[in-house]
Amino acid sequence: MLHRLRLFRLLLQTMTEIRSTAPAATTFFTRWLLPSAPVSITPLITFRIVFGLLMLASIIRFWWRGWITSVYVTPKFHFTYWGFEWIHPAGAMGMHLVFGVMALAALLITIGLAYRAAIVVFFLAFTYVELLDVATYLNHYYFISLVSFLLIWLPANRHYSVDTLLRPELTRLTVPAWTIGILRFQMAIVYIFAGIAKLNYDWLIDALPMRIWLPAKSHLPIVGSLMYEPWVAYLFSWFGAVYDLFIAFFLQNRTTRPFAYVFVIIFHTATAIFFPAIGVFPYVMMVSSLIFFSANFHEKLLSRLPFYKSTTLNTYGGGTPYRYRYTSLFAACIGIYVAIQVLLPFRFLLYPGHLFWHEEGFRFSWRVMLMEKSGSAYFTVKDPATKRRIEVSNTEFLTVLQEKMMSTQPDMILKYAHFLATHYKKQGLSQPEVYGEVYVALNGEHSRLFIDSTVNLAAQPLSWKHYTWVLPYDKQH
């Protein structure tokens, strides 16, 4: 086992770093995708520390609130991701162990001890947990999975870490520019796609769902009484859209950056106050946005921390820039990654019908706080052979969270229907048919029938194709 680990580490090391100072042969493509000019490592160091700390805090919060048990242990059924049906929760002990390991990994990432191993473990554990149940899908969890994946390949432990304390020869004070660029790119993707997602009729012209959500916030001091005013809902909607669309550009631009970061703080503090239910998301964005700041800024920031040795002193062999081996392979991988990130959120264009209604191509696309959708789902299981007919109590199988999520999302409705068919087959029904009477209300419109209640869902396959059993949407006026 230990031997294998050592081999794995060696493999990662040889794959990622080249010690020779000879510049690798570069093509136009690698230069474009992999800008390799050496830049200060400091932004990566800050990022590693704040990311690790934030992950540690959110794991502790999740544990403290008892969610490990209520979300991953108690439920009798889990909405698996298509293709990941083989991923199962590890039981009460196992799940707590996974979170414990994740917390330890987050701590190791923060202090930069056994960083590579820690970030690999963190990525695997976190992604495993996220793949357990679609009902828990949150965009910022997806973001964390992506960032921790990227961090596997970045030398974020090569300065101001326990690793370099133990082995000073590992210290590198400069890294290729793309290692910071890829994190900025990821941030920009989140913001810009969140902004594009807001460019729809309901959001801009009707100020929905803000007009529904804000009156529920009238308890807030000072601004509370304004929450019923339609213009406030328009202010929130439009400010949110403009902010998301352009903040990444203003953060990237050196002159506008400090001003833009003030907006980052204001915007995310506001979302944390107004919508506390979104959890750690505002904090993730606030600290991650620091990646846009200059090396000088990070140098000053880090120099306030104990035991920090300035990168400008350069006393212990850090003069060699961090270099990657196999740059063309890296360039190709990054090219693919970037393409996926840019294209995936647009996959909804391949589907007919209203995106918010059908939710085909909705996840993994940075659609955050975008609509008010709720539903009630009633299922009937019928056995044509024996003419038996059973109305299902969802509470028997689902948690409140799962039922809420399932009631408005077609793929989850189908997964649940398939589960019911399997369950009742075990109960002695020979060919269980499952019918759903589901009502959904979108953005304050009156609830209406969501799926064709005469279709046997048990016979409908999971598919990437458009689900024709979901009834078409017509906007009410």
């Binding site: 009156p215 529920a216 005013e229 328009y234 439009w238 979104i278 959890g279 008010e372 109590s393 409140v400």
Partner: protein
């Protein structure tokens, strides 16, 4: 890009300024509308005019029940049984008027679990032998009486099915209820006394705890899960789910291919299931409207410009009530003789449930889970 930004800013000003300027004009005509809605006044009204008086009335009905119960066990006869039936029915009906206040002190005390255990929505009605819905564990009751060793505070399904109103129904009104005092009379008397005393102590505790809880209740005008407004809206949906399931649909055989479970009706032994269900639904309507006070969830919906939805909810309450009262008591007999009547009421209750769980919960932006979400 800068041009785009300028354009957006102009468009934004273009939209928000006229909105802002329109406001004073409408302010003159309908001052209350633009000031929004006074949630604290609503919660104060709920606490002072609905919830606390209902618990006070409940306390009184339990005292009356205790008196009648003591008279019955002192001299079990048709006459004392009739007296206790009146008191029992009155107390049980009053309980239906507080059942939707299952939050705060009632939740802490587990009032609904001890006083009128419903079995929960997560146990299906598939086999007759199981303790589900409003079953009574008669074996456990008789065993408690004969052994004399029991602890009514223990939370396990059998124990919960051996106390509260359902157990009293069995002890007072089961076939040959009066004759059963012939054997083991003093132990039977003591058990009944203990069950009544347990209900009384729980109700007294909840009623007195509300005095302190009131401050917290009226001060929290949020709509998050566990907030008073969140609790009220969620309880409306939950209680309708209970009415649709354990109170009506499941005994009717909705989960069991039409196999009727008449003994699992609420109030089976007293034979007043529909009277109780009707009282339950009336109480839910009262909770929804706030009793025409201009301070209810209904009025909040109107303030949110959801008047049409509100009208529809009110109409659906009345339709469901009208269908419910058509079912003759005892429900246990009607489920077999006239299942179509129960089925019709079931359908209307489900429509009402959908409106409250989907449309009203959505309009009031009430959250039903504690866990994080990023807006659907």
């Amino acid at each position: 890009m800068k041009k785009g930004l300028i354009l957006l800013v102009i468009a934004f000003i273009g939209i928000s300024v006229p909105q802002a300027c329109k406001k004073p004009a409408s302010n003159d005509t309908t001052p209350t509308e633009t000031n929004g809605f006074d949630k604290k006044a609503m919660l104060t009204h709920y606490a002072d005019d609905l919830i606390m008086p209902a618990y006070a009335a409940m306390q009184q009905k339990i005292i009356d029940l205790q008196t009648a119960s003591d008279a019955f066990i002192a001299a079990p006869s048709a006459a004392t049984q009739a007296t206790v039936k009146t008191a029992f029915t009155a107390a049980y009906q009053q309980y239906q008027r507080v059942v939707a206040f299952q939050f705060g002190p009632a939740e802490t005390a587990l009032l609904d679990v001890y006083v009128n255990y419903s079995g929960g929505l997560d146990y299906s009605f598939t086999t007759a032998g199981q303790l589900t819905g409003f079953s009574v564990d008669t074996l456990a009751i008789e065993n408690n009486i004969s052994t004399g060793t029991y602890n009514l505070t223990t939370v396990n399904r059998s124990n919960l099915y051996a106390q509260g109103f359902p157990a009293l129904g069995y002890l007072y009104f089961a076939p040959n209820a009066t004759g059963k005092f012939a054997t083991n009379g003093p132990a039977r008397n003591q058990y009944i006394k203990d069950v009544v005393a347990r209900i009384k102590s729980l109700v007294d505790k909840v009623a007195s705890d509300w005095t302190a809880y009131r401050t917290e209740f009226i001060a929290n005008t949020q709509t998050s899960n566990g907030s008073p407004i969140g609790n009220i809206v969620n309880q409306l949906a939950y209680q309708l789910d209970m009415l649709k399931g354990p109170r009506l649909g499941w005994p009717l055989g909705k989960q069991s291919n039409g196999v009727v479970f008449e003994t699992k009706c609420e109030g089976y032994y007293a034979g007043n299931s529909i009277a109780l269900a009707t009282e339950n639904l009336k109480a839910l309507k009262k909770l929804y409207t706030g009793e025409n006070s201009k301070n209810g969830i209904a009025d909040y919906l109107i303030a949110l410009k959801k008047g049409t939805l509100n009208d529809e909810v009110l109409a659906q309450f009345d339709i469901a009530l009208a269908k419910l009262v058509l079912i003759p008591d005892p429900l246990s007999a009607s489920l077999v003789s006239q299942p179509a009547l129960a089925d019709a009421a079931y359908k209307e209750v489900q429509k009402l449930l959908t409106l409250l769980k989907t449309d009203v919960a959505s309009a009031t932006a009430v959250q039903i889970t504690f866990t994080d979400n990023d807006g659907d």
